[in-house]
């Protein structure tokens, strides 16, 4: 969008960091899935921060490439790993919310440990990459997702916020 009032990457000034608490408040899990959701988040934290695998996470973050891309792909891989290790018994509904939660936790860790300078845009990119990657694993191609979002948002969302 070249001449819209609200354009790509134009948003509130950086300053209010996206943190875990803010994201947690905006993830509304049904009561019957709350426990499963928390278990998956904790299992993910265990993989990210345990002595067996913490170095792997650090190595991944220190590779070349945009931080958002690395973070999103890493968390997507982590979620796939958890699904595989659980023999597919994790309720599918909790996968994406838990992944989003883990992204913010990893972002908090990166921010506080000063591994790299992480911005809100990096976190947003990471979430987009993770969702796209996970949905693709389920057979929903990114083009299909984008097409559907465009079609639906053009009908229901003002042009300034839509395509």
């Amino acid at each position: 969008m070249a001449n819209g009032l609200i354009q790509e990457k134009m948003a509130r000034p950086e300053g209010d960091d996206i943190d875990t608490e803010t994201i947690k408040k905006n993830i509304k899990m049904p009561p019957e899935l709350q426990e499963a959701y928390e278990r998956v988040v904790i299992a993910g934290m265990k993989v990210m921060f345990s002595k067996e695998s913490h170095k792997l996470m650090l190595d991944e973050l220190q590779k070349e490439g945009p931080l958002g891309q690395k973070l999103g792909m890493g968390i997507a891989g982590l979620m796939l790993l958890l699904i595989k290790e659980s023999n597919g018994t994790i309720p599918p509904e909790v996968i994406i919310p838990a992944g989003i939660n883990l992204i913010t936790r990893a972002a908090d860790f990166i921010r506080k440990s000063k591994l790299e300078k992480i911005t809100n845009a990096d976190i947003g990119d990471a979430m987009e990459v993770m969702i796209t990657t996970l949905l693709q694993k389920f057979g929903v191609e990114p083009e299909k997702l984008a097409q559907m979002l465009d079609q639906f948002s053009n009908e229901n969302i003002p042009a300034e916020m839509g395509a």
């Binding site: 996206i18 913490h54 018994t89 919310p97």
Partner: protein
């Protein structure tokens, strides 16, 4: 600023009339808090669970669609967070996902993913893709050790303490501030509520499960969720400790329908019945695809009104110019008639001009 509107059409109109407004909500933001959207969201949510239950009940043949749809259902629960992040960062994709999931109740409800998800299988997808290049944690054979039962049986407190030490060491090695480590590193990320929930034995769980509730490999295999792919196994009846969603044939749909009836019952919920009664036609229009036509008509109407206003303004301006020209012309024309001021001040019943005229002396 009120962000509650009476109808979807009012939301759309306000959005068109006021494209710039509150950046966090309201019509300009694309938010639709009107009763139509609320009912559509509730209906789509119920539809999702109904479809999931029906699919699971029908057997493994529909299990693929069920899985793909249910993972997209997760977007609904995180829609608020995605909208927030999209708004803060300007990421349009997240904004769209957040808005769409807020409106539809789940991307799976759009229906257009049906073709894509037909080939998706819960087990097949991940068994074949975990070692994909996209999976960084397991690429190049560097994947973390699987969470074995022996690890799962370990004490959570020891694990957290070990994680704390490791994280502190890593942060110290990188020059990070490790003082007050309780607020930083791994220890700082252990949710207290979650930790307490996994250390307390869940209902009907063994001691080993209770002490290692965080371990997905042990805690979920005890449940029967994996039986959802089985032609004969129950899908939702027993997902695991603490997850006791009712079986599809045991009344979930009937409960959902009962909830819908209660919502529409004028005695139990007068406002809900009133709102639905008022918006019944807009829902039908929305579902029948007349929305675009309505928008086009609204735009045409607005354009016609604008053109009409311009035409009237031009007519007024033209009339003003005509009168100015006429007045200017009369002022310069010697008509040969003198006006008697004394007569002019009196009431003139016979006409505006005739009574004030008299022959020149």
């Amino acid at each position: 600023m009120s962000k509650i509107y009476l109808s979807r059409s009012i939301s759309r109109t306000l959005s068109a009339d006021h494209p710039v407004g509150d950046p966090t909500g309201g019509a300009a933001y694309g938010e639709k808090n009107d009763p139509v959207s609320a009912v559509l969201s509730v209906a789509s949510m119920a539809g999702t669970y109904g479809a999931a239950a029906a699919a699971a009940g029908a057997g493994a043949g529909i299990g693929a669609t069920f899985s793909a749809m249910t993972i997209m259902q997760g977007l609904t629960f995180a829609g608020g967070a995605l909208s927030l992040v999209g708004n803060v960062t300007g990421n349009k994709t997240l904004s769209k996902i957040g808005m769409v999931t807020g409106i539809v109740g789940g991307l799976g409800q759009m229906g257009a993913f049906g073709e894509g998800v037909q080939g998706a299988k819960w087990g097949d997808s991940f068994s074949s893709t975990v070692d994909d290049s996209a999976v960084n944690y397991t690429s190049a054979g560097k994947g973390p050790a699987p969470l074995k039962g022996s690890q799962a049986a370990g004490n959570l407190a020891d694990d957290v303490a070990a994680q704390t030490k490791i994280t502190e060491a890593n942060m110290a090695a990188r020059g990070g501030n490790v003082s007050g480590a309780s607020g930083q590193g791994a220890a700082g990320y252990a949710p207290k509520g979650a930790a307490s929930s996994v250390t307390s034995p869940p209902p009907n769980a063994s001691g080993a499960q209770a002490s290692a509730g965080y371990d997905a490999s042990s805690s979920y295999t005890k449940g029967a969720y994996n039986q959802s792919l089985s032609p004969t196994g129950p899908a939702f009846s027993d997902v695991g400790p603490g997850y006791t969603a009712p079986a599809p044939e045991s009344g979930f749909l009937s409960e959902a329908w009962q909830g819908t009836k209660d919502f529409l019952n004028p005695v139990k919920n007068p406002y809900g019945a009133l709102a639905v009664g008022q918006i019944a036609a807009p829902i039908a229009d929305y579902l029948s695809g007349k929305t675009d036509a309505e928008i086009a008509a609204l735009e045409a109407q607005t354009g016609y009104a604008d053109a009409n206003a311009l035409r009237i303004q031009e007519e007024i301006a033209r009339e003003k110019r005509r009168r100015e020209n006429l007045n200017a012309g009369y002022a310069q024309v010697n008509t040969g008639i003198n006006v008697n001021p004394a007569v002019l001040g009196q009431a003139q019943a016979g006409g505006l001009i005739s009574g004030a005229m008299q022959p020149a002396a």
